[in-house]
């Protein structure tokens, strides 16, 4: 299994769903950062990110979302995070990011939050 994997899916109404799997650390974060920047360059700022397949995240990984949410919100969009495992959610909690990011359990709820 590769250490890190990103699946990209277009949703209706100009939204994109990213599903990330594996380990998001200082070795892999640039791949996600590039993917999100490419989506922004296409003029899409409404992103849902499914974290259910993510086994581990460090601050380098969380930093990708910190760096991107401002750009998304300035352009009338947002980043909604979905279904983090307890280990991954724990890191967002430790960083005090759980109050800043919106978490949803289903893609419907994430899409509604992005409307």
């Amino acid at each position: 299994m590769p250490a890190f994997q990103i699946l990209k899916e277009k949703l209706p109404q100009g939204m994109v769903l990213l599903s990330v799997k594996g380990f998001l650390d200082a070795h892999t974060f640039e791949e996600l950062e590039k993917t999100i920047n490419d989506i922004f360059e296409d003029g899409i700022y409404k992103l849902a990110v499914d974290l259910s397949g993510l086994d581990y995240i460090s601050s380098a990984g969380a930093g990708v979302f910190i760096g991107a949410i401002g750009t998304a919100q300035e352009n009338d969009g947002n980043i909604i995070l979905m279904k983090p495992s307890p280990n991954v959610k724990e890191v967002f909690d430790l960083l005090g990011l759980s109050q800043i990011f919106t978490f949803k359990d289903t893609r419907e709820d994430a899409a509604n939050a992005l409307k």
Partner: protein, 141 residues
């Protein structure tokens, strides 16, 4: 347990080794008395410390090595991380204001904050022979 459990790992300054470091720490946590709910956090603290050394300790392209020594005793789980990179004292870095961090889109500088949040002790020492030594301790209660 009585006796302490001890092991060490040496890796070069490349982020591709972070997974090896995490597996090493995980194995020792599972062999120790540390509660399993602390596992993810302690692994994270070590990852953050090693990541900081890889990213800031050496000039770009310069090779360096990082030693991670773990000692698990009855009362504490201790990790000592040594490197020969530039002097870096994490005690000099203040905790971030997270709201401001997000507003400014700052992506870095959170590792030391996490280390302090997670571990009971974070001690830094610069040793003669040009070595940074960072000690992370989690008490076992």
């Amino acid at each position: 347990m009585g006796e302490s459990l001890k092991d060490r790992l040496v890796v070069s300054n490349d982020t591709k080794h972070l997974i090896v470091v995490r597996d090493f720490v995980s194995r020792l946590i599972r062999a120790s008395r540390l509660a399993r709910e602390e596992e993810n956090k302690v692994i994270l603290a070590v990852d953050e410390a090693v990541t900081n050394i890889i990213e800031h300790g050496y000039d770009e392209g310069a090779e360096g090595s990082i030693e991670i020594e773990v000692e698990a005793a009855d009362q504490q789980f201790k990790i000592v991380i040594r490197d020969t990179g530039r002097i870096f004292n994490p005690e000099s870095i203040p905790d971030p204001d997270m709201k401001e961090h997000v507003q400014r889109g700052h992506k870095k500088g959170l590792g030391i904050f996490l280390m302090r949040q997670i571990m009971d002790e974070v001690r830094y020492k610069f040793k003669d022979g040009v070595k940074n030594e960072l000690t992370l301790v989690k008490f076992i209660r």
